[in-house]
């Protein structure tokens, strides 16, 4: 049960808008009984209808969750009416009414103003619960209720079924799959039997000193990581891997993974495609989707959670394209938010294909699985074979990169000495880049295999300013634009100044 509590507190972090102000029941409930049994819709307080224009989103209030948490005292915690005999307020069963029935916007005749009533009742209760150690407490900070950006309506608080997970945990012989504690001495996470605590003990706000992962990430990482791994291994029954699977199970009951079903092609996708974009430096990459589909256990290997989450429900397929705005509502604001928590966006397409560390990228996957990639990615052109490679692949021939005759051209390491007054010369590993790019014209952009000449950067790009050709970068600019442009786009190679330029030591400084 500890874990279950953790999950629910986790949702507080993930979905602050949802685990809401306990306290005031504002939704017109139409007579709830002392043991209310749901059916009160999630409503909003601080509504536009009452308050007019609001600075933030109306406060979302989940009546059912409050009645569930508060048990027998639930109704009396918030609902009351003026008691004329005693001068105070009492709760009378069956007389429940919305707050705004009596509380006006301004205080009058001894009745508190609506805002004051909300804040007093909700916050007081949340704080009391916090002091008593009850979880979840409900938000205590302003932004906990007054959210800047609401979550999609379908994101419901997650009910974690601890019991379902016990067999899985016991399979590994311990509960270590989820529960761990921090071992100061060893500097790592360890599982200690009997020390199982809820996630938010350490991952909740404020974070425990050694903890870096916030609750939301920790829980998503633990649950989804396990579910995905199992699914990728072809398990017959795994937990949800899509957002709605946990957050909106009523509308989207997770179809327990059926690998055979998952491996069905969902899209009318050509078997062989050319991955590329216009104006790219490198020619496109012919890609055999069919082979990858057959060889990989699951679509999710490449189509990571983000794509996969949306693609998982066949009934959603017709409007998949529109599903992005399920989470990414106000496009601009939310995209930047998304990039902050790095939901697979926040990477350039180039980086997504090339990142050695990302398991879903071409290079990352082929390196990690040690599969037969095209020549093990020894050079750029082993994949980037363009239209010719596409033709070859279609005809079933192995894709052989065009053998380019550039025998031993250029130095192994080229010293760039433009900024030697401030930095050590840059040791440019020319040979390594030759091997990676093969085609010289990737950098030597005026070179063609036919001319056979490879002018150096310096040949055209002079240090001095040429008023006749303002469009042409000067030498230092052309180096930086060429090197950094590629490194940044690819998500590979140094982009920080001092990675290429070593500060010049005093002794070695030129006179």
């Amino acid at each position: 049960m500890t874990f279950a509590r953790g999950m629910e507190s986790g949702m507080k972090a993930k979905a602050r808008a949802l685990i809401l102000a306990s306290g005031t029941a504002l939704v017109l409930c139409g007579g709830c009984t002392p043991a209310p049994s749901g059916n009160i819709p999630v409503g909003y307080i601080a509504k536009v209808e009452v308050y007019g224009d609001l600075d933030r989103y109306p406060v979302r209030f989940d009546h059912d969750r409050h009645t569930d948490r508060l048990g027998a005292d639930a109704c009396a915690s918030c609902h009351h009416e003026r008691d004329d005999s005693g001068g105070g307020v009492t709760y009378v069963s069956g007389h429940e009414a919305a707050c705004e029935t009596c509380h006006g916007l301004e205080a009058s005749n001894g009745t508190r103003g609506l805002t004051e009533a909300y804040h007093d009742t909700c916050l007081k209760c949340h704080e009391e619960r916090s002091e008593e150690g009850k979880r979840p407490t409900g938000p205590q900070a302003c932004s906990g209720c007054h959210v800047k950006q609401p979550l999609p309506d379908w994101v419901e608080p997650v009910t974690f079924e601890h019991a379902w997970h016990i067999p899985v945990m016991e399979r590994d012989g311990s509960c270590a799959a989820c529960h761990h504690v921090w071992d100061e001495k060893r500097g790592e996470r360890v599982y200690v039997k009997g020390e199982e605590k809820a996630c938010d003990t350490c991952h909740g706000e404020p974070l425990a000193p050694h903890v870096k992962t916030r609750l939301r990430e920790a829980i998503h990482g633990a649950c989804l990581g396990c579910h995905r791994k199992e699914r990728a291994q072809g398990a017959a029954r795994t937990g949800p891997v899509v957002c709605q699977g946990c957050h909106d199970p009523a509308r989207y009951p997770e179809p327990f993974a059926q690998p055979s079903l998952l491996k069905q092609p969902r899209f009318e996708k050509a078997d062989i495609i050319l991955i590329g974009r216009p104006n790219a430096v490198m020619p496109g990459v012919p890609f055999n989707h069919k082979v990858h589909q057959e060889k990989t256990p699951d679509c999710i290997v490449c189509h990571t959670s983000h794509v996969f989450a949306m693609a998982d429900y066949t009934e959603n397929l017709p409007y998949l394209g529109e599903r992005c705005n399920l989470c990414h509502t106000a496009a601009e604001a939310d995209m930047s938010e998304a990039s902050r928590h790095r939901l697979s966006v926040g990477l350039t397409p180039e980086a997504a294909y090339h990142d050695e560390k990302a398991p879903a990228s071409c290079i990352g996957c082929h390196t990690a699985r040690n599969t037969k990639g095209p020549k093990q990615f020894k050079s750029c052109s082993s994949c980037h074979s363009g239209e010719k490679g596409l033709e070859a692949m279609r005809k079933g021939r192995p894709v052989v990169p065009e053998t380019v005759q550039w025998p031993e051209n250029g130095p192994r390491i080229y010293l760039i000495q433009e900024l030697v007054d401030r930095f050590e010369p840059v040791q440019f590993p020319h040979a390594d880049h030759q091997q990676m790019a093969i085609e010289c014209q990737v950098c030597h952009h005026h070179t063609t295999p036919k001319t056979g000449k490879t002018p150096r950067c310096k040949t055209c790009h002079k240090s001095a300013f040429d008023p006749e050709q303002p469009a042409k970068p000067r030498l230092v600019g052309s180096y930086h634009q060429m090197c950094l442009g590629c490194h940044r786009d690819m998500g590979m190679g140094p982009v920080k100044c001092l990675k290429c330029h070593q500060k010049r030591s005093e002794r070695g400084r030129l006179p």
Binding site: V345, T348, F465, P467, P470, A471, V476, G477, Q481, L484
Partner: protein, 307 residues
């Protein structure tokens, strides 16, 4: 004697006539075109990496006081900075809207307008627009009125309020002394990414439009400074809306065209003196006539008084 009320009425009528004249001439002011040989700079916000080498070079060349924090310190980006008497140019950092970049850096300095408001506002001609595009300030001529500081639509010129003796107006000079020597502005020379491109303004505009055309996905389709306030020597292209990068949304008309039209209109065709003298003439004629009437009436009444 003319009453105060009557005087004001007449003066008002005279002012109205002048205003009418000037309103006609406002419509007829012409847009000032950039000098064909004018130089300028093109700043490409997609290239700038925020290394602040431009600031360092500017500081060195203009012999400005050393900064509070070293130029290598990226911590300065935490707050928005403005040009000051100690920094002719500053680079600011903005959040990127693109998922693949965290920040966009934008350099600020005097825009060296084609039709500068500061030059127009200067009473004594201390602010000068040079044929090569630079707008500079002359220490000898300046009387310290600071109209240039108020007039600038970009709020760039700064006045040395802290100096009792010979306070200066501090702003970027487009490195005018260096241009005279055939050198580039220091910032453009120092920029390692060549995010600042120096050259003839007309050619830079071509370069800017060529980049927008070649990479429409990378830029917003606008060259800031091409038309703003009648055009500026500094041109900007950027990956996201200029409003999100702290640029002001300014009209295409140069402010001096409006202000000068009003001011000059008042004096056009010798209008003001003529109207004033005409007004005075009318006043004199009227008062003379009234005195005559009063005298005539007085003649009739006088005996009665005596009697």
């Amino acid at each position: 004697m003319i009453s105060r009320r009557r005087f004001l009425k007449l003066a008002g009528a005279a002012a109205g006539a002048t205003a009418l004249e000037s309103s006609v001439s406002i419509a007829s002011t012409e847009r000032r075109e950039p000098d064909p040989n004018a130089l300028g700079c093109l700043f490409d916000a997609t290239l700038c990496v925020g290394c602040r080498q431009c600031e360092a070079a500017c500081n060195r060349v203009n012999e400005l006081p050393p900064p509070d924090r070293p130029f290598e310190d990226p911590g300065v980006f935490r707050e928005h900075r403005d040009t000051s008497i100690r920094a002719y140019t500053v680079v600011n950092r903005y959040d990127s809207r693109a998922p693949d970049r965290k920040h966009v850096h934008v350099k600020t300095q005097c825009m060296h307008c084609v039709d500068p408001s500061c030059v127009s506002a200067c009473l004594v001609g201390a602010m000068r627009k040079h044929p090569n595009g630079a707008v500079t300030w002359d220490t000898v001529a300046c009387i310290g009125c600071r109209y240039c500081v108020v007039a600038c639509p970009f709020g760039v010129p700064r006045y040395e309020f802290d100096k009792g003796i010979e306070p200066r107006v501090m702003k970027c000079t487009l490195c005018y002394p260096r241009l005279e020597q055939g050198l580039m502005p220091a910032c453009a020379e120092a920029c390692p990414m060549e995010a600042i491109k120096f050259g003839p303004r007309a050619r830079l505009l071509e370069v800017a439009h060529a980049r927008l055309e070649k990479h429409p996905e990378r830029y917003v389709d606008h060259v800031y400074g091409e038309r703003e306030v009648g055009g500026t020597s500094w041109l900007y292209i950027a990956p996201q809306s200029f409003a999100s990068l702290g640029f002001l949304d300014l009209p295409e008309d140069a402010p001096p065209r409006t202000t000068e039209a009003i001011q000059h209109g008042v004096f056009k065709h010798f209008a003001a003196p003529i109207l004033i003298y005409a007004g005075l003439g009318v006043l004199m004629a009227k008062s003379a006539r009234r005195r005559q009437q009063e005298d005539a009436a007085g003649d009739g009444e006088a005996p009665a008084d005596e009697g």
